[in-house]
Point group: C2
Chain length 236, copies 2
Amino acid sequence: MMKNMIIASTSTVFGSGYLEYILDDLKLHFKAVKTILFIPYARPSGITHDDYTAKAKDAFSKININVEGIHTFKNPKTAIEQAEAIFVGGGNTFVLVSQLYKIKAIEVLTEVVQNGTPYLGTSAGSNICGLTMNTTNDMPIVYPPSFKTLGLVPFNINPHYLDSDVNSEHMGETRETRIKEFLCYNTQTVVGLREGSWLQVLGESITLKGPFPARIFKHDLAPYEVESGKLLEHLT
Amino acid sequence: MMKNMIIASTSTVFGSGYLEYILDDLKLHFKAVKTILFIPYARPSGITHDDYTAKAKDAFSKININVEGIHTFKNPKTAIEQAEAIFVGGGNTFVLVSQLYKIKAIEVLTEVVQNGTPYLGTSAGSNICGLTMNTTNDMPIVYPPSFKTLGLVPFNINPHYLDSDVNSEHMGETRETRIKEFLCYNTQTVVGLREGSWLQVLGESITLKGPFPARIFKHDLAPYEVESGKLLEHLT
C-alpha cells in the first residue's frame, strides 16, 4: 500500500457549504471506505469535539460514508491504527498539534498514512502534513511541545494562502512577507495553497489540484507560481 | 522610580514615516534621555540588526536622541541594566522572544522597566509587555522555549488589531475569532490595540492613547470597546 492523501487548503470555499466544493473528489478518494475516523482536535472557534464531528458526519453522509470521532474511542492510538480512513479537520494548528503530542499519536498517525490509510486534511489538518507547523497562520493560543509535524510531504504547507491586498492600509505583515521571514531562519520549501486548491498525494507523487496555481517559496529563489495539474514532489 | 512605558500597536501608520505619528509623544516620554538602547531582535523581513538600528537611529535623530543597538554590546544583559531608556522594535515576536530567552534577558528587562527605565515597544516589542505572547499575530517561524513574556501589564496585548472585513471572501479566521479561541484555553484579558493606538503606563496607571478605541476581550464577557483616554489597569 502507498500514501493516498488529499491535503486541502480549506474545508470551505466562499459561498459554499462545508466540504461541498471537493465532495466529488472525496467520493473517489474514499471510494472503498465505509467509515472515516475524524480527528476534531483543532476545534475551530472552540467548538466541542462532538459538535465538530457531527458537522463532518453531516457532510460525509451526502456521499454515504460514516464518520466517527476519535474522542469517542477509549484508546485513540488504537483507533488510528485500526481506521479505514482518516480526516483531520481544520481549526487551530497549535491546539491540534498539542493534543496529538499529548496522546503520543504523531508517530502512529504518520505510520498509518505512510502505509496507505486514505487521509484527508483541511487547513490545520493539512498544515500538519508538512515538515513543521512553522508556516501556520494560526494564533499561538497554546504552547505545543514541538513544532515538528508529520512530514508526509517533503516541504511545509501554508494553507489559506492569501495574495497581498494592494489597497490595504493595514501595516501588519503580508502573507508573503511572513513566509519570506520564515525562510530567513529555515531552508525547507513552503507551498502556499490558495483556498480551493489541494494536493493529491499518491505514493511519492504529489499533484496540485483545484482551480488555482500554488505559490512556491524556496530558500534561494524568488517566489513563483505552479499551475494546477503540475507535480510538486521535487520541491524539497 | 516607577514604570514609564509606551506600548504602541505599530511603529508606522499608513501613509506616514517610521514612528512619525507618535514622535511628539516620544519627545515627552524620553525628555530626560540622551541615548536609547534599541533591541532589534524581532528583525522585520529579516533585516539585519545593524540596518534595523540605523532605521531607529534615523527616526530618533529628529528629536535629538541617540540610539545604540544592543547587538553592539559585548554583554547585552549589562547593556539593559545600564540603559538610560529602552526601545524594543517590531518584527516577528517568535524571533524576538527566542533571542531574549537565549541571552537570558527576560528577567533583567522586566526588572529595569519595573524600576523606571523608560520603555517604548512597538508591535512585537509591545506584545512582550503582556503576560504571554499567545495573542501575537506573527507566524511561528522559530520555536521559543516558552510563550511567557514580561508581564509588565496584567493582560495580553494584540497589536495591529484589525476589525473584520465584512466584504472579505477569505475563509481564514478573523482576528476576533482567533482571540475568542485563545479565551477557550486561557483566562487572561486581551487588549486589541488598533494601529495608531498606544498604552501609556505610569506606575500602575495604564491609559489608552491615540485616536481609536481599544477592543477588550474578557474570558467571561462579550467583547467591548474602551474609548481613548480611559484607564485600563482594572483589566486583569
